[in-house]
Symmetry: C4
Subunit: 292 residues, 4 copies
């Protein structure tokens, strides 16, 4: 690191938001699970390398989502009587409109997840285009105007935060710095969206997907259930929330669905736990914010 | 990513095949296991770097296959009374003809797996040569004209798909987008081969091989059995299929063979599960396709 | 490697210190645990790449430390009645003075951990500046003159060792070559600081943090508890010590705190184990050194 | 890969040795464990990058071997009444003569492991110098003329194989292609050394060492014991052998020694298993070879 780079590091926190407010969850709940899914299909791969479009097996990881994974997940959620939020890339909606319509028809919330799943990295081009094209596609194909946004690859810039506010996004769900919802404060001090924070432990990609591009391990049910239950049980003790970040191309695989069924059944057995959508958690936040 | 790359991404699925048809498995079976092996020997390593040919220990990973792994696997399959499909590279047949003959003589199906195990990546040279040289070797050495093909490194291009059809390949087994057989549709809309899809969880290389070239972990029996049983049990509930992708240089190792024996014994205890070759599953598909 | 590089390797040990002295721990203890934490906040990330300062989600890993992780850890230590040592970067103190004050007020020891968490690699600039700026910040913000130092990224150079001695550092805790405290010998044969050695197994980052920058796995409670208990129980048999290297952005996560609570409760159940700060272990060392 | 590289790949096995002969182990044994250790100390690290010599914490991983790991392992082997083979780099002997003398004095076999632990890769310089300097150091410091050799980084070239034969090496232990001893055949068809083959599963580095240079995971006792027992039990059924490749900087760590004690105790409980040195296994091979 040279002097200029070193001196460029601000001596203040990147996140200016005050502590997350400690309001109660809706009775009888004392903790929450934001049940959310990221539906990328092939855009999870072409966003790494456009050339992947010609690698047919790499593409097939994404296509699993439309052919098998999402239908199976919808079936599971229906059996359990659960509603969640599906953040879908515009590309996935354009390429697989029937899949997207099935999600909507089943009563789940549709969230914004970019168009081509491009990473919103500082200096990356197309950040605003990604946002606008995502809105346009959800509107055109599904008649949906999403209020929630999750960043592709879980990265964020100040510019993106501002663009989202300007486009009417009410909540985001990408930051890793809290266990309760809070309201973003933009760099200029004005209010940003509400954040429903996430954590790596509930991202199925961390434990369940290994490819020739990555040496990640695939872990069995016992491993993942232990992580997920420990995180959930501690969060319940804290009166806080967890956010799942599940991908149908991973959690829609047979052994992963089996694991998810067992986990969600466990979660449903916790009478203090509110399992719900991002929109519902956000509504609850806003009601308390207005009352404060 | 620049504009040209971004604009090169098609807005349609890479796989144009309709949903996998939902015909029944042969009575009394209600699910299937395509028991398959990939025999690469040293070509698994020289295909990454031709210079490996002079790295004698790196070569010895591959040679294990001929010296120990394949004979031990054949012995196990014989003890269990199981027949599977062995996708063998032409190189392995030329270098180890006795190993290849032993597989054939034991009654297993021989499949095509390229000649030098070169990855069929877009723009890679030798894709057609690999296919032709593989056919030529299997014919010359074994008198075999294979009807099944698995792609080295599990990658595929449209060009490869077309070449295989032209050379009479009836089924392929490399795509990750389904849990039942389906027929490929080529880019021009004409019929392609039947696909017997695979998944990373049944690839022994993901859990059992660590080298100085890769930080992958070696997982014990409990880990792998849990994955494999969960995947199998869920697939049985779905009426679908699993495909094993086992390499004698991995699953022929003592502790891995012990694990495989336990897994296959478990699978044989499932009265609803058809454990068979790719050719048999393909025959069954064709019969239903003709009847449809 | 070329001839010049090869010939540059000294034929003598890098560490000239004699064997660790084998004095007794304070009665009734027969082994020790140096309970220590590294508080880096965002400097854990900006020290890898100053550009991370604009990657808001990457920053949020660090901010978790101030918003949730450190408060929760302080609460746990208070509940258990334990005191430890917190090595804090100057950056974290400047950005989050209230967090640093809370640690101090709770009665824990404050140690030096650099300013920007820059790695003290041979030839790296700013090594001395990092040390001086760290001292200055701890003095200015907290009125603390630390006697203990842990190297960012766990690396060390001879120059750093000398600078620390000149600045009055009494003990360091970064080396991996022993299981008991020993006194460093500088390259010129003069005495260096006392070393309280560490080991990778008690670094929570090794088992609990996975990001898009690293393929590390996240392991469940059973995995980590097994490692930590085995290491502790064997060390107790040896009459030696362990050093925890825990980061609030990892161990302050819900499932990790749950694990840590269980582990510390186990450790507190060992009547022969002295759980304490680096300062206390160092005082004990000095008393025995003076008496020798 | 270009045409020239492709055409450079030989169409014959790299290993020309016939199948391993199937002679019996000495009564009452029916399988064998070659109990071996690799002692590299700091040369494990400087051989990757000579600049590591100035990275004092990186060096301290190696120094652990001399300060704690090797003494503790010798104590364990003494308690269990076991003799093994220690492959030591010349560098480790020059830097830590007392450690090397302690190994010799305890009655263990000393093997050749290069001087600077440089990888014998095709085209690497210093391959012959490494061999000669290793011999010279073992002779000068310990009065030992080793008959066994293990390659640093487990790699080998034809040139190295020939050099070793010319220098009187009787057995090597680096190849991964068998589960019983066999005699190498050099490229010109003349006899090479006897090989006592190894496997990655018994290399403690694969499961027990994680550093900032590598994302490898550290696995607990249950994981490693399961692997090691499964491999051992299957090999016992086969009448074959296993070879441990243990490093005091890994297996000499408290939790790893605890694991090794448990594993070796298990192995000693197998009445059919011969736990011994490379020299003893080689003698047995030679006796059968002469009798054949």
């Amino acid at each position: 690191m040279n002097r200029a780079a070193l001196d460029s590091i601000p001596l203040t926190p990147a996140n200016l938001a005050p502590p997350a407010p400690d309001y109660p969850w809706p009775a009888p709940y004392r903790s929450a699970m934001f049940l959310s899914f990221d539906v990328d299909a092939e855009s999870a791969w072409t966003s790494k390398d456009a050339g992947h479009a010609e690698r047919l097996v790499t593409m097939s990881y994404g296509a699993y989502e439309a052919r098998v994974g999402t239908p199976k997940l919808l079936e599971l959620l229906d059996q359990l009587g659960l509603k969640g939020t599906f953040f879908i890339t515009g590309w996935a909606v354009d390429a697989y409109p029937a899949m997207a319509e099935a999600i909507l028809k089943a009563g789940h919330e549709i969230g914004h997840h970019g168009y081509h799943h491009l990473m919103p990295d500082p200096g990356a081009p197309f950040i605003e285009e990604e946002v606008e094209r995502g809105f346009e596609t959800l509107k055109r194909r599904l008649g949906v105007v999403p209020t929630g946004y999750r960043a592709p690859y879980g990265e964020f810039t100040e510019g993106l935060r501002r663009i989202l506010v300007e486009h009417g996004i009410v909540y985001t769900s990408s930051f890793r710095d809290d266990v309760r919802p809070y309201r973003h404060v933009l760099a200029d001090g004005t209010p940003g969206p509400i954040e429903l924070p996430v954590t790596a432990s509930y991202d199925d990609w961390m434990h369940g997907l290994s490819t020739r591009f990555s040496p990640r391990s695939i872990f069995p049910k016992e491993h993942v259930l232990s992580l997920w239950k420990d995180e959930l049980d501690e969060v319940r003790d804290w009166g806080a929330m967890v956010t799942t970040v599940l991908h149908p191309q991973c959690s829609g695989r047979p052994m992963r669905l089996r694991l998810l069924r067992e986990f969600l059944t466990y979660a449903q057995g916790c009478p203090d736990l509110w399992i719900t959508t991002g929109a519902a958690i956000t509504e609850n936040f806003l009601a308390h914010e207005r009352a404060a």
